[in-house]
């Protein structure tokens, strides 16, 4: 009986999502986001999407967290709250309307796990039946990824490399660029020789960042 576990995992997922958006400390929010991705990976594994679970656990829970932590270290750790009540009251009806519309639309979707759903009757039957004869590959996801739908994969690979190059274009700078007002200690030569990279206190009125060794 997998359904109750499913439900519990989903509730944990919702709680972590709310907390990740609610906490003030951005590092804590990043940790909660990684936990959220890990629970999502568990859910993927629970509905037998093993490849997706592997990628989500490695990328969503691992590398995304690393990227967030690096970016937070390069910027600031404190979330700037700026509660904008007007915008919240303008957006909430929008979200409620979105939810209502989607709930209405979801009544037309097939039941969960229905073998007669239209999506199950499509091309994937052919893929499953022919995969081994065509490519000698038991893992159908791999043969789909690299053979039947390799044009798709080519496009995605291009998108990833382009995204990395775009990130490089945004951040790479000339040494004599006057518009670059950088005065953080990492940019001064020799400034980070013995930099201790542990973080400062989470709250300004804490213990002053110097606990016992």
């Amino acid at each position: 009986m997998i359904v109750p576990l499913d439900l519990v995992l989903f509730l944990v997922l919702i709680v972590t999502a709310v907390l990740a958006l609610a906490v003030k400390d951005l590092l804590a929010a990043t940790a909660l986001l990684a936990a959220y991705s890990l629970f999502a990976a568990l859910l993927f594994a629970g509905v037998l999407a093993v490849d997706v679970a592997l990628v989500e656990a490695a990328l969503g829970a691992g590398l995304t967290g690393v990227l967030f932590v690096i970016a937070i270290l390069a910027t600031t750790r404190h979330s700037s709250p700026r509660p904008d009540a007007r915008r919240r009251w303008a957006v909430l009806p929008l979200i409620v309307a979105f939810l209502g519309l989607m709930l209405f639309a979801s009544t037309g979707l097939p039941d969960r796990g229905d073998p007669d759903a239209p999506a199950q009757r499509g091309v994937s039957q052919t893929y499953l039946a022919d995969s081994y004869a065509d490519t000698e590959t038991p893992n159908v996801v791999t043969s789909l990824l690299a053979d039947y739908r390799s044009m798709d994969t080519l496009g995605e690979t291009m998108v990833i490399v382009t995204a990395a190059l775009a990130a490089a274009l945004v951040l790479i700078r000339r040494v004599d660029d006057p518009s670059d007002r950088t005065d953080d200690p990492r940019d001064t030569p020799g400034g980070d020789a013995d930099l201790d990279r542990d973080l400062g206190p989470a709250d300004e009125d804490g213990y002053g960042g110097r606990g016992p060794r």
Partner: protein, 112 residues
């Protein structure tokens, strides 16, 4: 065979429950991490040891399981070490008996 596996897995689950309880009732980050690090590493060892004795396990799967066990045993204490080091550097003070006594006295003074 299956009895040994079940006993080991049960012991592992027991230690996992103990570590979860310790996470809830311990007073500060150091004692929590102390309790969780030890009992969880032991629970991992017992769980995987129990899984080795399962009859449906093939040879290459048990090899993979052994690799996972070895790397978990290395990485788990290291992660907790790094976590506690960061906690110490960012100023988390350890809980002491004096704190508890002061709190008790305050409580008593307040209620009487």
């Amino acid at each position: 065979m299956i009895i040994v596996a079940n006993v080991l897995v049960g012991a592992g689950l027991f230690f996992l429950v103990v570590s979860a309880i310790a996470l809830l009732i311990m007073p500060d980050v150091y004692t929590r991490a102390h309790a969780v690090a030890k009992s969880e590493t032991l629970a991992l060892l017992l769980l995987f040891g129990g899984l080795f004795f399962r009859p449906e396990l093939t040879l290459d799967a048990s090899g993979l399981l052994a690799l996972v066990l070895i790397f978990s045993l290395i990485a788990n204490p290291t992660a907790i070490h790094a976590l506690l080091r960061a906690a110490s550097r960012s100023g988390a003070l350890p809980w002491t008996v004096i704190d508890q006594r002061l709190a008790d006295e305050e409580l008593r003074g307040g209620t009487s």
